[in-house]
């Protein structure tokens, strides 16, 4: 942060010249570069990156799309915090504050602010999809709102992968990427396991045990960073990860539940 006052814009309006550090580089190396860019009232960080691209760094790579917090493309780290650039208002920073913008630090960098998030698509493919109920055709699915309410919260996910990026299990331990699906995809398992029509169990697929044995649920130590950074305010930890942990306990660690299920089956 700089203590020096921010220079005023030339036209004398409320705009000011903000100081920025933006990471430039690729997989072979890079560094934080200093820039001074005009900031106008009501702007977000993505506006500044676009102005920087238009006026000073024409080859600056940045991934973006909707600029409305719905496509999940412009994920980055702003002053070290994983955030969407389009949903981070410049008004939250003091005019004399230097704002640092870097790519997400849990994934390989492609160039500048663009990262390779294919890890997440690999993990998505590892999750067994919805199993249709037998004897119910397409268009014949009927569910009550109270039965689908829990899963609907998870459907708000815009796949920005900020939760995957901030989760220390993979962010701080590259070696865990093979074993750990990450909060976004553990939430997907929870969504399917809570789905009233999912017939996985009838098909011999135990999502609860698989979450623990195959998708690394045990790595999660529920420190809630995924919930803190979620731009859709999904209560990932309270409503998906902890319930999924409890469901795994039902299957694997609770002898009373195991006994009860055995008796009920007879």
């Amino acid at each position: 942060m700089s203590a020096a006052p921010a220079p005023k814009a030339a036209d004398g309006s409320a705009a000011y010249i903000g100081r920025f550090k933006v990471w430039r580089g690729d997989a072979d190396g890079g560094e934080l570069k200093d820039f001074e860019v005009e900031v106008n009232e009501g702007e977000v960080v993505l506006d500044i990156i676009h102005r920087l691209q238009a006026t000073q760094a024409h080859d600056l790579a940045v991934r973006w799309n909707c600029k409305a917090g719905k496509c999940g493309s412009c994920s980055a780290e702003i002053n070290g915090q994983p955030r969407l650039m389009c949903m981070t208002r410049m008004s939250v920073f003091a005019p004399d504050e230097t704002v640092t913008v870097t790519p997400m630090r849990a994934f390989p960098v492609v160039r500048d602010l663009v990262t390779d998030v294919s890890f997440n698509y690999t993990k998505a493919r590892e999750i067994p999809s919805f199993v249709p109920p037998p004897g119910v055709g397409l268009g014949e699915y009927r569910m009550r709102q109270e039965d689908v309410g829990r899963s609907q919260e998870f459907r708000k996910c815009i796949e920005c992968f900020l939760c995957q990026n901030t989760c220390h299990v993979v962010r701080d331990h590259e070696e865990n990427k093979a074993a750990f699906a990450g909060p976004r995809f553990l939430m997907r398992i929870a969504e399917l396991d809570m789905h009233p029509l999912d017939a996985a169990e009838e098909a011999g697929l135990d999502r609860k045990s698989a979450a623990q044995d195959e998708h690394g649920l045990g790595y999660c130590n529920i420190t809630k960073c995924c919930t803190e950074v979620c731009p859709e305010n999904i209560k990932i930890t309270d409503n998906a990860l902890i319930p999924l942990k409890e469901r795994a306990v039902d299957r694997k660690y609770d002898p009373l539940v195991w006994l009860g299920n055995r008796i009920r089956r007879r």
Partner: protein, 278 residues
Amino acid sequence: MATTETPGPARPAEPSGGVHAPGRAAIAARHLRTDRWWLAPAVTATVLTVFVVYSTWRAFANADYYAAPYISPYYSPCIATDCVNMRGGADLQIFGPWWGLSPALLVLIFPLGFRLTCYYYRKAYYRGFWAAPPACAVAEPHGKYTGETRFPLILQNVHRYFFYFALVFAVILTYDAALGFRDAAGHWGHMGLGTVVLLVNVALIWVYTLSCHSCRHIIGGRLKNFSKHPVRYRMWGWVGRLTAHHMALAWGSLVMVAVADLYVYLVASGAFADPTFF
């Protein structure tokens, strides 16, 4: 964190640098946060340390835990024969005179286990003491991480059993609080500041216990179709509203249980006279 052996399903490779792993953006700093991210884990670690030191002293003290009609929550139920005589209290005398240590040590393992395995406290001490992670997007200092996949941290999965015990303790502490409406001679119709302290304590214990994530699961979370269980669905909703405040309730009840014990200690040791309302 546990650091031995690798897990079964997908065998991780050797540690390779976290945020400094090859291919990631070359940024030397462990983090670039500019806010006071260290404040929350520092406060957490400090308060928990103070609580543990105070509680250890009081648990081993074996003195000044009963000031009729008030009993310290650290010593209830009192299940050793060397407990002081508590008129009508939860004095069960299960352990004979061979038990030479403080009776508090026999019962504190249950509320301690409940809080140690609690989903909120896990977050608090993983961040505050283990720095795993110290804060979001702040690199942790450990070379390897296995989380709760193996012993001893896999034992966190017994939380629901501690929850069942916590329910029993909540009932006993409710009984203790009710006894606070008797005077030192055992006659009903008394109320002092100690009665209020015990009532507030047990109220916080109840809401903290009922806001437990395991409770939410047992009440209804494990169901697939809520529409077939309307009563459990409604109760699940109520518990869910409490669960949203689990952190605040965890801190509130932690502080209050220590305050309740301190109050009984001050009255029992003669340092403070219990103000009587009627």
